[in-house]
Symmetry: C2
DNA sequence: AAGATACCCTACTGATTTGGTAGGATATTA
DNA sequence: TAATATCCTACCAAATCAGTAGGGTATCTT
């Protein structure tokens, strides 16, 4: 399951997508409208900024905004930043790979299955973007 | 990611599938061969028994064994028992559903995506069984 | 019946992760 | 230079995870 933090992140991003190209949005505005604890949201947005998803401006008229066009950022990328690995096993993870000390990866039934799950999942999450969070729809 | 516990469970089950219809297997045997902490494994096997996946026999000649034919138990069922929900959001979970207080589920981009991920994942995990874990696998 | 065998069961504990908060530092604008 | 708003580190409580302890209970052998 996605962590609370990850779900907050997606709610905030949904809001920012809706305000795309309308100038920076205050953290406090997002927190209020999306009912997210202010200081916690602050940390989340900062993390998304460091990862290159968001950009920010300080001082009056400042705030956060989406860096690239929303269609350029995949949902998979966001999940990895705020929630960690997408795969169900370390030994099938593309971005968080760890060698499996329990099995011969070339000959492990579970490994094969989880590779399949990973591919099926990524096929969706890599091809959906921030745009798909809003696109005509209302809120999360 | 699957918890340590879940990965232990799958390793133990793999062993039990290999020994299927060769009589009960000692916890201590599984623990030793699969390098799983004995007392922890004890709890895991007990949980799988209570959930109806395994059966056991006490006393000399006793041990654990798979209750039904391995092809009758899906990987999805095992994951739910030892690891919890398969879905990425409570509001798309079939077995651990919780109403989403953040969004209108009928009109939420993230909800739709995660429903897709759930279906793609279950399409694999519901149709693979304990048999697919075994070393000398039957062909699909 | 007695003893040995092997699972059954509850409770506990330490380490890690999760879900935040606190409080000030830094950059920008007016 | 005052106000604004993000930046940043550290901290904290609660929950979960990973595993242990210690005896209870059922079964088998002799």
């Amino acid at each position: 399951m996605l962590s609370n933090k990850a779900q907050y992140a997606f709610r905030a991003l949904t809001y920012l997508v809706d305000k795309y190209e309308q100038g920076p949005v205050l953290i406090s505005d997002i927190a209020k409208k999306k009912k997210i604890p202010l200081k916690f949201l602050e940390n989340i947005l900062l993390e998304l900024k460091r990862a290159g998803i968001l950009e920010s401006k300080k001082g009056k008229g400042g705030g956060y905004y989406i860096k690239q066009h929303p269609s350029k950022t995949s949902i998979a990328a966001v999940v990895r930043i705020v929630n960690g690995p997408i795969s169900m096993l370390p030994c099938v993870s593309l971005y968080f790979y760890e060698h499996c000390q329990n099995c011969d990866e070339k000959n492990c039934g579970l490994h094969d299955m989880m590779e399949g799950v990973r591919d099926a999942t990524l096929n969706i999450l890599e091809n959906r973007t921030l745009n798909d969070l809003a696109s005509g729809k209302e809120t999360l």
